[in-house]
């Protein structure tokens, strides 16, 4: 009889130890995964070549690349937000634009942003995007030839910021808005642009 509880005790101990070992092993595995996501999951994070705390550099684009970026999004209605860190209403508006981009993504709206910051402000622009994650790609216009760029985007753009441009899904420019705008104005236009594109 005594052997029974004894053997039970041994078996119990063994199973508890086994469970503990298994639990420790799984914990180790979980913590290992948590600590080294790059090793266990090779899919690239946002900044593969930089320290995780370093915001990614914004790709600098020339006028021809802008046209290519618009053309590459054909098939879906497109909104392009022009902003700069020196532009206060742009900074105010940006989180709202990011929210609208998220809100209308599933309805088919594609969005990208273009910063008009100078080279000396590139770091500020990068930090701004780190503070206000856009959820859509952003580029920075190569400084210089401002007038040519403005006229290429639209001859009716004065150059004033902020400015947001709307394209139909066939890539045609539908129009743009300049200066501070309310969320209501944005929503009205986005919904019309989506409706016109059959989305």
């Amino acid at each position: 009889m005594a052997a029974n509880p004894d053997s039970f005790g041994k078996r119990h101990l063994a199973s508890v130890a086994g469970l503990l070992l298994a639990a420790m092993a799984s914990l180790l595995l979980v913590s290992a995964r948590a600590q080294t996501p790059v090793r266990t999951k090779p899919s690239p994070p946002a900044t593969p070549s930089k320290k995780p705390s370093q915001p990614r550099d914004i790709e600098v684009i020339e006028a021809s690349r802008y046209d290519a970026l618009v053309a590459a999004r054909r098939g879906k209605p497109l909104m392009v937000a022009f902003w700069a860190t020196w532009c206060e209403p742009c900074r105010d508006e940006f989180p709202m634009v990011a929210e609208l981009a998220r809100q209308y993504r599933e309805k088919g709206l594609t969005v990208f942003g273009v910063s008009l910051d100078e080279d000396a402000e590139a770091g500020l622009a990068r930090k701004f995007l780190a503070l206000h994650p856009a959820g859509f790609p952003n580029y920075r216009k190569k400084p210089g030839k401002e007038q040519e760029f403005i006229n290429q985007v639209s001859p009716s753009w004065s150059g004033a910021l902020p400015a947001t441009f709307f394209y139909a899904k066939d890539g045609r420019l539908l129009g743009h808005i300049e200066g501070e705008q309310t969320r209501e104005t944005f929503v009205k236009i986005i919904e019309k642009v989506l409706a016109a594109s059959g989305n």
Partner: protein
């Protein structure tokens, strides 16, 4: 297809009406507007008091816009040289969020000695189709618009390659035609008073 086309036209119309800040620039050849403006001490005036024998330069300025502020020294230098050559130079502040007291303080702090007027209800900005700061208009000695646009092609003073405002003034001073009469640049939007206020007149 037809419905879609109609919807598309409607959307363009909507963008046009919603984008109330978009202005149609006054065409070259427009006469100097004679509209009521205010001095920074509140007296009524108009542009006719600021004209020069050779012509008149109107610059829309801002106290808060970093682009306009990047041009403070350049505007002051331009003013000194242009006035010496017989041009009238006047700054216009049409921003609703920059009261006359702030404009006065800002001018003192930055050594701006050219006259600056308040365009309280944006009538001048609307008449000229001004959109951003700093945006300039050059009128000849007959008061006819001969140049509209940027001061120069770069905010970064070390990278300027075209001094368009200077070139326009140089041309007028020597009796020539302004070669490049319209230019554009990135700038801060003029913060206009809401349209309903504009109509009621304040």
């Amino acid at each position: 297809m037809t419905l879609k086309r109609i919807a598309l036209i409607a959307s363009i119309a909507l963008i046009a009406t919603a984008g109330c800040a978009q202005q149609t620039p006054a065409p070259i050849g427009t006469p100097l507007p004679s509209l009521a403006l205010l001095t920074l001490t509140g007296e009524k005036t108009d542009l006719s008091h600021y004209t020069g024998k050779q012509g008149t330069v109107v610059i829309f300025v801002s106290t808060q816009c970093p682009v306009s502020n990047a041009y403070n020294e350049r505007m002051q230098e331009f003013f000194r040289a242009a006035v010496a050559r017989g041009f009238g130079v006047v700054g216009i502040n049409a921003n609703r969020n920059e009261p006359a007291e702030e404009v006065t303080r800002h001018a003192k702090e930055h050594g701006l000695t050219f006259p600056i007027l308040k365009d309280e209800d944006n009538r001048l900005a609307d008449a000229l189709g001004a959109s951003f700061t700093p945006e300039t208009y050059v009128f000849d000695r007959e008061g006819i618009l001969r140049y509209h646009g940027r001061i120069d092609d770069r905010r970064d003073v070390t990278k300027i390659s075209q001094r368009d405002l200077q070139a326009a003034v140089d041309a007028l001073a020597s009796g020539k035609t302004v070669a490049t009469s319209e230019t554009k640049a990135f700038g801060c939007t003029i913060k206009r008073v809401p349209r309903s206020d504009n109509k009621s007149g304040s």
